[in-house]
């Protein structure tokens, strides 16, 4: 079965002896008594291009290959990885994984069980994109970024411009005896930041709001985002921000644009509804969650019209896959229904641990050298059918602030207390925007914040935002993830003045 996009998987990857490597590893693991074994081979292509004031600063082209064997021996995990793609090396990795399991058994008191998943056979999946960014020369990409940078630099009040383009093509092969999945995904993230410096030393920046996406190079040509329009407006927005009055701290009604709210969803809902966190498995590092399983079906997370889903299926989503790193097919499910906590993100171990049936497919490893963890699905706030536009939301505010673009973020280890800033903030007076403000941060406790959500924008305001760099686990892993959201109206949120905070 083949589905997803119309491209073929990179022939350099499929030319590798993937099945022979898997067979060698699985056979060795079985011979040594492993009760479960799975095999993963990956080829990750990435390229980073960075320009400073239109001049090339960074060009880094990387390719990472490797294989990993994960086993369960007498109820204990073992994991080993290598970069050598030969049957001998695969069998050696299997032996090492079994040895690791035996060393680790001294400190294991919980028998590892995995939730069952239907066998999917031999399947292929490719993400949706038009132009593989690795089919475009680095010189052409750098030239485009230089052109955009110089257009910004030519405008009044722009002193510096940073331009970055990160691109990834991820090929994965997974086999566990029941499912053999070969997959390819493409993603990229272009950003431009304009900087203005005053003679008195004060400076401000303004960054593009274009989100990272699971698309190809066509994204830079206007498919999915209007870069031309955004570049055109940035210099004036920056000048206005530099001249804007500093915010008066206090409580305000907020209208929050998707370009800012995606990150608040990520931190205060996405991570809080990971079952491994809620059960304490990340307690020493990323932290736990206030949304513990005893509150499932009870916790009033937000106002009654709040509907949040997890999915690994959204077209162009950064967490979208055909099958996860445990062979579980991509799915979509509820996390918050009518404002009440209604679900979690799971991998096969977490699903079995709590008797929740089938995993919803959230296992992911960021490289062949790392063991899969439960990582975030695309977690999205659903728009209100027939709901208001952004200007209609603003019209409902007498004295408030409109926030667009993400910048600074921080949240505590149980996902209660957060603080975010943004790219730009507009004063709202009498239902209309009344110029920019600066030095704004908003601070709240998760459930207070989401219960203060009075109105949810309609589908016409919905945007899929996201990030390449979500961190979790030890050793640390990064994962790409998208978050869709409409614009929203929140009542009475605490606003800080960041200049006063530093004084």
């Amino acid at each position: 079965m083949t589905h997803g996009g119309q491209h073929d998987i990179d022939p350099q990857f499929t030319a590798l002896p993937l099945r022979a490597l898997a067979d060698a590893a699985m056979q060795q693991a079985a011979d040594l008594g492993a009760g479960h074994a799975d095999f993963r081979a990956e080829q990750l292509r990435s390229q980073t291009i960075g320009l400073s004031d239109g001049n090339l600063e960074t060009l880094f082209d990387a390719s990472d290959v490797g294989l990993a064997v994960r086993v369960v021996v007498d109820g204990t995990w073992g994991f080993a990885a290598t970069v050598d793609l030969t049957p001998d090396a695969a069998a050696q990795a299997a032996r090492e994984a079994v040895q690791v399991a035996r060393v680790a058994a001294a400190m294991n008191t919980e028998r590892i069980e995995l939730a069952p998943e239907p066998a999917h056979g031999d399947v292929t999946w490719v993400s949706a994109y038009d132009v593989d960014p690795f089919d475009v020369s680095a010189a052409d990409k750098a030239a485009l970024l230089a052109d955009w940078s110089k257009r910004l630099l030519a405008r009044d009040g722009v002193d510096h411009v940073d331009a970055h383009l990160t691109q990834v093509r991820e090929c994965k092969f997974y086999a566990d005896g029941a499912t053999t999945a070969t997959q390819q995904r493409v993603r990229l993230h272009p950003t431009l930041t304009a900087v203005a410096v005053q003679k008195d030393g004060r400076f401000e920046t303004m960054r593009t709001l274009a989100p990272p996406v699971g698309r190809g190079y066509e994204y830079l040509d206007g498919s999915g985002w209007d870069f031309q329009a955004e570049l055109e407006e940035i210099p004036e927005l920056l000048a206005e921000k530099l001249a804007a009055p500093s915010v008066r701290p206090g409580r305000y009604d907020l209208v929050i644009d998707p370009s800012n709210l995606w990150l608040t969803i990520h931190e205060s809902i996405g991570h809080a509804t990971e079952l491994d966190r809620a059960l304490g498995y990340e307690a020493a590092y990323a932290g736990t969650s206030f949304a513990t399983p005893d509150k499932l079906g009870q916790l009033q997370y937000g106002s009654g019209h709040m509907h949040v889903t997890g999915d690994r299926t959204a077209v162009h989503g950064l967490a979208t896959v055909g099958y996860d790193d445990e062979g579980v097919a991509g799915q979509s499910w509820d996390l918050i229904t009518d404002g009440v906590l209604s679900g979690y993100q799971l991998d096969r171990r977490m699903a079995a641990l709590r008797g929740l049936g089938r995993s919803n497919g959230c296992a992911f490893a960021d490289s062949p050298g790392h063991m899969p963890l439960q990582r975030m699905a695309n977690v999205s706030l659903q728009p209100a059918e027939g709901g208001p536009s952004t200007s209609e939301l603003i019209a409902g505010v007498e004295d408030g602030i409109f926030i667009a673009g993400d910048k600074s973020w921080s949240i505590d280890m149980q996902r209660y207390n957060f603080q975010f800033t943004g790219q730009r903030f507009y004063k709202i007076t009498g239902g209309r925007l009344a110029g920019q403000l600066r030095d704004v941060a908003y601070q709240a406790t998760t459930t207070d914040f989401w219960n203060a959500m009075e109105a949810i924008g309609g589908p016409q305001t919905y945007v899929l935002g996201g990030a390449f760099n979500c961190g979790k686990g030890q050793p640390g892993q990064v994962a790409p993830v998208s978050h869709g959201t409409p614009a929203v109206l929140m009542r009475g949120i605490r606003i800080l003045n960041t200049a006063e905070e530093a004084a």
């Binding site: 960075g50 090339l56 919980e110 900087v195 304490g280 960041t498």
Partner: protein, 470 residues
């Protein structure tokens, strides 16, 4: 050519290169880790990898263009394809702004005696390094369970051998062991939490039972709970918290950004604040690749150019550098390119950091607690993020134990706080700097684990709001 030795791969790549200049870096890495939660193992693993990075430089009348191609798992027969790919990028590319001549062998760092030489094989690590530790940890987990504590944590050891060769004849290597253990103890009902961590080069001398005993004491302290509101408090930061804040300051001390007018170290109207006072106390922030116990790469290794790194500088020796000298900003992190722009010495970033007072009577943390009339004692900071580069305002949380000190004694545990503080502003409000000790930065330890830091007393540390997290 069939040898898979990294030294031979480098020579082979350089002999194949037809571009004007070429830099080749081979990294051989091995790692082993154990992770546990709720008194049981969660994940583990061993991994080996090797990476070949070829930096091709195409010099032309307009300057020099660079192509960088980095691939893992490259075998000898695949080296040529990496070299040609890098050369193609360089030939097609536009000129790099940081172009300089490559470092000559005479100006490059020398490999000191007693260290592995160029021709010695790369070193490695494996699960065996953790075997003794795993046994002790198993006992400690059982003792903790019997004592009503839940333990969470992580132990990791890795070793990277880096080989650097250039077309000008530089041949350098460095073997870097890194390791750490982090232990988090919670009461059975999860309402009380404490943390300890330490960096180690080899896991010799790591005493996990002693770490657990220290945490058990702190969980006892936390049995009396005191609710305090947000506000500015006299605060004792332990060495790990000082390390996290000053590591971020160090990372923000790039000369190029300062020159561009966009950091806290920019001088209004142009230039940098080098030479200005940042603290009234005789404190020195320093990096030294030879610091005992914190040894790190003594020459520049740059796989790619960036704001604070330049591939042209590969092989440049790293000398002990004072970033803040007796309270005065003394240097910023530089490439040769940025040093040319700023007119300041070439002081590239180094992989360790120390902060010390020249006061010989600097106290240890227990003495500082004993001299506190009323203040907060922190365990560590977490989720530290930049809010405003203008002031280097950072936000974040206190974590795993905030204690109230009254009349020289810990009298209970306080709720957590979100802080908003600038490490630069904090330097100007240091009331006391204690004796420096090895410290693992809790937040940045994944990237930066080599630090020696003091406990410090800060006046009016800005606790912006209460966090309900426990």
């Amino acid at each position: 050519m069939s040898s898979q030795r990294p030294q031979d791969i480098i020579d082979h790549a350089l002999s194949l290169a037809t571009c004007s200049d070429c830099v080749v870096i081979a990294d051989e890495t091995s790692t082993a880790n154990l992770r546990w939660a709720g008194n049981t193992l969660t994940t583990n693993g061993v991994a080996r990898s090797r990476r070949l990075t070829v930096i091709a430089i195409d010099r032309r009348s307009a300057g020099a263009a660079v192509g960088v191609v980095s691939r893992s798992g490259v075998r000898a027969e695949e080296v040529e394809s990496v070299v040609r790919a890098a050369e193609k990028e360089a030939a097609e590319g536009t000129v790099a702004e940081d172009a300089e001549p490559l470092v000559e062998p005479g100006e490059a760092a020398a490999v000191p005696s007693g260290r592995p030489g160029w021709d010695d094989p790369p070193e490695g690590t494996g699960i065996g390094v953790l075997e003794g530790f795993a046994g002790h940890l198993g006992e400690t987990l059982r003792e903790a369970a019997a004592g009503g504590r839940k333990l969470y944590g992580f132990a990791e050891h890795d070793l990277t051998s880096t080989f650097l060769g250039t077309s000008t004849g530089v041949r350098l290597r460095h073997d870097q062991p890194s390791g750490k253990v982090e232990l988090n103890a919670k009461s059975d009902d999860l309402s009380r939490s404490a943390w300890a961590g330490e960096a180690t080069r080899d896991f010799a001398g790591v005493d996990v039972a002693a770490l657990d005993r220290g945490l058990a004491e702190r969980l006892e302290w936390a049995k009396r709970r005191v609710e305090l509101p947000a506000g500015r408090y006299e605060t004792l930061l332990p060495p790990t918290a000082t390390a996290d804040l000053l590591t971020y300051l160090y990372w923000s001390a790039g000369a190029k950004d300062a020159l561009d007018g966009r950091t806290v170290f920019s001088k209004p109207g142009g230039g940098t604040r080098v030479g200005e006072s940042v603290s009234d106390l005789p404190v020195t922030l320093r990096s030294d690749p030879w610091y005992p116990g914190l040894e790190c790469t003594p020459f520049v290794v740059a796989h790619a150019s960036g704001r604070d790194s330049s591939v042209f500088d590969n092989g440049l020796p790293l000398a002990p550098t004072e970033w803040i000298r007796r309270g005065e900003l003394a240097a910023l992190t530089q490439t040769r390119y940025s040093a040319g722009l700023s007119g300041l010495p070439v002081t590239p970033a180094i992989g360790n950091l120390t902060f010390e007072t020249s006061d010989p009577s600097a106290p240890a943390l227990p003495e500082m607690i004993a001299r506190t009339e009323r203040g907060l004692l922190l365990t560590c900071l977490w989720y530290i993020r930049e809010v405003d580069p203008q002031t280097l305002l950072l936000t974040g949380l206190t974590r795993d134990g905030v204690y109230l000190v009254e009349n020289g004694e810990v009298t209970g545990a306080v709720n957590n706080f979100r802080f908003n503080e600038s490490p630069v502003g904090m330097l100007s409000r240091l009331a006391e700097v204690g004796a420096s000790v090895p410290a693992l930065p809790r937040e940045w330890g994944d990237y930066f684990s080599r630090a020696v830091m003091p406990p410090v007393r800060v006046e009016g540390f800005n606790m912006s709001s209460v966090s309900q997290a426990s």
